[in-house]
Amino acid sequence: MNTQITLNEDQRDCLQELMNVAYGSATAAISDILDAFATLSVPAISIIDTKDLKAHLLNNIEVEDVHYISSQTLNGKIAGESLFIIGEKSSINLAKEFGCEEDADVNELCDVILEITNILSSATISKLAQEMGTVVSFSPPHIHMVHSIENFDNQYLEKYQKVIVIKTQLNFENQNINADLLILTTDDSIVFIENMLDKILEEF
């Protein structure tokens, strides 16, 4: 395991650029699929110690009382997990965007959230993977309904030293939808990403 898991300024800039492109394509995909104009905020990239992840989530995510967290495992050279976190109100608005009725039940909401998670992670990670000359395979996403980040636990978190957290906000035009997408990558993936970033930087 690489003990120097960190990104230098150039690497960070490059990753930011790649992510911007990836998120651009995700935005386009959403707009295309839903016939609605969605925007994703410029992704904020940070590399943090895994032990600080929970505190980081608590600090960085504005959650309403009840929120849904859907996670999807990423397999391949870029491995890890994508987390999509959305509050109940936003998820109801999101469901409307997907053509659901006003009184959509929990299952419908979950289906919509899973769909958007899949769309966002597929669009972004696939694009990023493509830029890095690799392929990522996605496992079906799963959803949890949690009342606090506190009860979102992962006992194997210690397996990893660091995670790259890529945070973005999803906004729909004229709709009050706010959600956060986090992409958490494993140590080995960070090393892979680092190497690929260096390669890309060399080519420029």
């Binding site: 699929i33 299952n107 979950c110 669009a123």
Partner: protein
């Protein structure tokens, strides 16, 4: 084997459903797994619309997922927990069937974007869903039980706090729990302060208590508060087993208020008795005072007329001395009666009754009441002489008052009977009258404090209550009341009958009337 044959073999032997579907939902491939489970062969469904066979499919969702998959060039999914299934396939399972239809996880993978083809993979997740379902059911049940348990605990705590008693639980002689009342009663702020204290730390005289002698039966004791004030209390100790460990549950009732009330009633009774006595004294004194006054006036008149003989003076002075002696004696009688007894003494029951009657003589005469005594034998008692007098006088006064009630003023021949006898080693005093008796509905209330049917000028409502206290607590006897019909001198009467039963012990001797 050609590549196509190999491909078909793989598709027909994988343990999941494979459909090649276009965006119009037309089926282009249908593998053996699906054919055997749906009983629809590939030939049957080939180039047909999936909806012709499965009309219940949510087309909006399916179309969206196909479109997304093709657009993103990435798989989309159906979650078996949320979407349950894509194709409604009845399960062939017979036993332990939780679901009617197969639960499915579905992955839709783009096949050819140009021709809008996707591959639909269907996985049978029934087993997993069943486990989840069972877990959920158990979880719900567990929550229900947990809530019920919480309710029960709340109920018990509520009960514990709602009870009038302070409750303490001791384990190995140390306090391990108490209720709010317990904390309050002993003047503590919180439960924590009381934990670990020993029973003796709550007792005034710790050496006095042998707990083992008091199991299950309530007893009175003096206890100490945090600020070291002492208060009377009623305790009940129950031995029990909790988690295989012996514990003692002690309930405590503060008797301070009750004792204070008792004292107040007792004082009030004393005052009431004194009031009645003053009435009696007034009656008793009128006659001798008249005698003195008459004698003195006579002497004065004779002196003025210079006709006062020595013999007249002697006679008059003799009369005055006799009367003052009588007055002095009555004062002694009343005094004895009022000051009560400090110790038990031996006395004769008939003499006691005579003394009581002498106090009441004037009053009875005034009310034209005839007293008829009947004593079967001489009875010696070892008890409180004056207290018994007070009780008997109270009953006699009560009878006298009964004759004064408006409803019975027509009774001309007024009698009060006093019978004494011995029965089963008990002295029995029956006091009954012909004043008509006590109405049945109040018969069991007349010994209660402050209960009176009399006009305010007559009763305080404490006389019979005091009588009950004296007989039961001091004399250690029994007093009952009933209405009685009887014949006297060939005439039928009815009235109230008070019966006092006093146990005779070895210290009491009975002598036959000679």
């Amino acid at each position: 084997m050609t590549f196509s044959q190999k491909f078909d073999l793989i598709c027909d032997t994988v343990d999941n459903g494979v459909i090649l579907l276009d965006s119009n939902l037309q089926v282009h491939f249908w593998n053996n797994w699906l054919a055997t489970r749906t009983n629809i062969s590939f030939e049957e469904i080939k180039n047909k619309n999936l909806l012709d066979f499965f009309p219940n499919i949510n087309t909006k969702t399916l179309n969206r997922k196909i479109k997304t998959s093709l657009n993103l060039n990435s798989p989309t999914f159906y979650d078996s927990d949320i979407n349950k299934f894509l194709l409604d396939i009845e399960l062939n399972k017979v036993t332990n069937k939780v679901f009617q239809s197969m639960r499915q996880g579905v992955t839709i993978t783009p096949f050819d974007k140009e021709s809008g083809l996707v591959i639909v993979y269907i996985y049978d997740t029934t087993l997993l869903s069943e486990s989840n379902h069972k877990l959920e059911t158990r979880n719900t049940k567990l929550h229900q039980i947990q809530n019920e348990l919480k309710d029960e605990i709340n109920k018990i705590e509520l009960l514990l706090d709602a009870t009038m008693d302070a409750m303490f639980v001791f384990e190995n002689g140390l306090c391990v729990n108490t209720n709010d009342l317990g904390i309050e009663l002993f003047g503590y702020v919180n439960k924590h302060e009381l934990m670990g204290k020993t029973i003796s730390q709550f007792l005034k005289n710790s050496s006095d208590l042998d707990i083992s002698k008091h199991y299950s039966k309530p007893f009175e004791l003096s206890l100490i508060k945090k600020d070291e004030t002492i208060f009377p209390a009623l305790l009940k100790i129950k031995k029990s087993i909790f988690k295989n460990r012996p514990i003692e549950i002690i309930s405590i009732v503060d008797l301070s208020e009750l004792k204070a009330k008792d004292k107040l009633i007792s004082e009030q009774s004393k005052h009431a008795a004194m009031g009645e006595m003053i009435g009696n004294i007034a009656h008793q004194w009128r006659q001798p005072l008249n005698t003195i006054s008459t004698a003195a006036s006579g002497v004065k008149l004779l002196k003025e007329c210079d006709a006062l003989e020595d013999s007249d003076l002697d006679e008059s002075l003799e009369g005055i001395i006799k009367s003052t002696k009588y007055l002095s004696r009555t004062i002694d009688d009343f005094n004895d009666f009022l000051k009560g007894d400090k110790e038990k003494t031996n006395f004769n029951l008939q003499e006691n009754i005579q003394k009581d009657l002498s106090i009441l003589k004037a009053m009875m005469k005034n009310s034209k009441i005839n007293i008829i005594e009947k004593h079967e034998q001489a009875i010696e008692l070892f008890s409180f002489d004056n207290e018994l007098s007070q009780a008997i006088i109270n009953i006699l006064s009560n009878s006298k008052d009964a004759f004064e009630q408006d409803e019975v003023t027509f009774i001309d021949d007024r009698h009060i009977f006093i019978h004494t006898s011995v029965s089963d080693n008990n002295a029995v005093i029956d006091i009954f009258d012909n004043a008509g008796g006590i109405p049945d509905e109040i018969l069991n209330k007349i010994f209660e404090p402050y209960f009176t049917t009399k006009h305010k000028s007559l009763g305080t409502g404490l006389g019979l209550y005091m009588t009950l206290q004296i007989i039961t607590q001091n004399i250690e006897g029994i007093i009952t009341v009933e209405n009685k019909k009887f014949t006297y001198n060939s005439k039928n009467y009815n009235g109230a009958n008070f019966k006092i039963t006093i146990p005779l012990n070895s210290e009491v001797s009975i002598t036959r009337h000679t």
